[in-house]
Point group: C2
Chain length 426, copies 2
């Protein structure tokens, strides 16, 4: 295999070896039956259960380092594993066993007039790369999803989780070998540090797709630096529009659910836009419910005219994914005003309208250019698990290949199979 | 709209205006019915017919410049339009009218246990960018396909065709306006020169997908430089494997058809790999047929042992897409040897095996990692038109989003539509 342009052979000779081994292993994985892949997943779950002590010891090292380096309480919590969390990881691996294998699915097919038979079938990408932060659960998630979809995985986790990830990848590799599969199908490139991450982004020809998971900064860096095709799983500056005709209790419950049920996730609402004709009717009960749950609400000038207790909201507020019990409110003249605000501030993840007006509902669904658009439902439904995809690969905010919640099929490509009996082109 | 990172506002302020106008126009296009889009396509066909003289005059200017600048005969031929070719362009636009509109197709859907209804529908990308060389027909092709799929098009053609493209885009814009659509839905950025092409590749947020069409150099530059998602339409170093059991007349006819029927295209065969047990039986008639049609054949050492008239083939020969009446031959030990050669030299476009052995056929189909894999058929069938897709967007050699011949659906993304009646997440 030739070294792709942009990959430095001197600085990263051994990284190239790792990637080459992953590519080689991916060929073995591509043609496995679901039964074999499920046996490997079960072995991973069992190794996790058997290796609890080793994983916890490694995690304790990372946590001690993290405390020394002044990691925030939130980051330390994301980094922390305990017996219950490891049991949860094993359970999530077994959930992947239950999912249908996408590989081999016939997407479409036909027989041409000359008798040539075509079928387009799902095949693994080959090597899936992932770059993410210090959340050890992502190591297991991505490795399990990649394996079930027939892909080798090359993982680059946050350096703060390096010891934990090393143990987890060692467990996965032992599990693969225990069922006769190549250990090289799961690789960590954490030992290569930042330079390794950079090389991974340039490793077109070795890595077929790269999935960044984490902060907006991390994702934007990967999008900007990669020559490998990227699936962007983006931030959610998510909007709910309260139309003039919105039912009051629906508005109150959906906004409250979309912010409070789990504020730290990307499908939680960040901004509520309310029609001026409904502002006096809807804002008081909506705000009361939010405040009762400890949500800090800011508002534009017109919202503050309805509720003087609102702190003023700036453009920065409207552009921010808070991932916290914070929310901004603005009053708009009409549906066009709401659409314009969304165009300006949305990250094109998920938006919902609460309305009884069918024409406005249809316009909203047609004109809002986001991965998921909703009528009269909580934005929290924008989720692979809720959509019935099983485990979550992520939520894509780009338009190429996958958009919105991604399931296992989104970790595959396709291939055309052509069967003839001697046909030539006239 | 904010200016995306990497787009220089000082150097390219007016390019940003062009891209912003395209984005704005794309919103109007996204919700058009097929009837309106077809009327616009018919208007384009008619404007082409009406504007023959203007287009030919502009083309004459480009041809004169090209001759002055020493353009090769082949390039001048690709650049040249005449009345018949313009009539062909109008016909190809009308062919697009006949294709089904992919927008609004429901890809999948379901009703969740809580009554929330999901459907995933095809939507336009928004703005499709194309970077290509001095082939004016691409201007019309891409604009027509983009329009039918509800996308605005931003076109960057080769500078050698600048006058012709200016006229063609002016025709398209007049046609759009004649049916009440925004002219900004079709844009050329040729006046911005090379800097404009560079800015286009960085215009993430304005341009949703970028399609390079042309030489391997051009495509690799776009892949390397773009932050906008790219669909790589790659070169074809295409292989045909003659297995030990291959039928002689099938081998002769398919290899001949795959090289000679149209040597200048990406699905023409470049290398024939013959099983050692069949080399003495198959090579003489295969080579005789090729030579009778003027094909220059090179061979590896073992092929030259069968046919001393072969020039020696180097690794460079095996790695080259000749697009000419040239072909290389190698003898392999077995199917594994063929698969290894293909792994080393293929561009993962199209490969075919000629065999009567079912196990080898199935292994080939499963293990060759190319966009199109064939048994007992000419590689020339690897084509959108032959596959029944109508007009050709290109043949993707990447694995993300689209792989192999692309039709109109490949110029769309999807969007999830969620309809509830007040559901919240528990």
């Amino acid at each position: 295999m030739t070294v792709p342009a942009g990959v430095s052979t001197t600085a990263a000779l051994s990284l190239i070896d790792v990637l080459g081994a992953a590519k080689e292993a991916s060929r073995a994985l591509a043609t496995l039956t679901a039964n074999v892949k499920n046996a490997a997943l079960e072995a991973i779950a069992r190794e996790l259960e058997r290796g609890v002590d080793r994983v916890l010891a490694a995690n304790e090292l990372d946590l001690a380092n993290g405390r020394e380096n002044g990691l925030s309480v939130g980051l330390l919590d994301r980094l922390r594993l305990d017996e219950a969390r490891i049991a949860g990881l094993a359970r999530s691996v077994r959930d992947v066993i239950a999912l249908p294998d996408p590989v081999g699915t016939v997407v479409r097919g036909s027989t041409l007039p000359n008798g040539v038979r075509l079928s387009q079938v799902r095949v693994p990408f080959g090597v899936v790369g992932a770059i993410y932060e210090a959340r050890p659960n992502v190591t297991i998630d991505i490795a399990a999803l990649a394996l079930k979809s027939g892909n080798a995985a090359v993982l680059r986790g946050g350096s703060a989780a390096e010891s934990t990830n090393r143990e987890l990848v060692a467990l996965i590799r032992a599990a693969l070998e225990s069922v006769g599969l190549p250990a090289a199908a799961a690789q960590t490139i954490d030992p290569f540090g930042r330079a390794g991450a950079t090389e991974l982004m340039r490793a077109r020809g070795y890595v077929d797709v790269l999935i960044p998971r984490g902060s907006a900064d991390l994702i934007q860096t990967v999008v900007r630096e990669s020559t490998v095709p990227v699936i962007e799983t983006g931030a959610g500056v998510v909007h709910i529009v309260l139309d003039a005709s919105a039912d009051e209790s629906m508005a109150v419950e959906i906004v409250h659910n979309a912010k409070v049920q789990r504020p730290s996730v990307c499908n939680a609402v960040e901004t509520v836009l309310v029609h001026r004709d409904a502002a006096a009717r809807l804002l008081p009960p909506v705000l009361a419910a939010l405040r009762a749950s400890g949500v800090t609400v800011r508002g534009d000038e017109r919202a503050r005219a309805v509720d003087a207790g609102l702190e003023p909201a700036t453009d920065d507020d409207f552009a921010t994914e808070h991932m916290a019990l914070k929310l901004s409110v603005a009053v708009v003249d009409d549906l066009d005003g709401a659409l314009e605000h969304i165009r300006r501030f949305s990250t094109q993840h998920t938006e919902s309208i609460i309305t009884a007006d069918m024409a406005n509902a249809e316009r909203f669904l047609a004109e809002v250019d986001s991965a998921v658009v909703m009528v009269n439902a909580s934005t929290r439904f924008s989720d692979g698990g809720e959509f019935g995809f099983g485990a979550e690969v992520g939520i894509s905010t780009q338009k190429l290949h996958a958009r919105g919640p991604m399931g296992l099929p989104e970790l595959t490509s396709t291939k055309w199979i052509v069967r003839g009996d001697g046909q030539v082109r006239g």
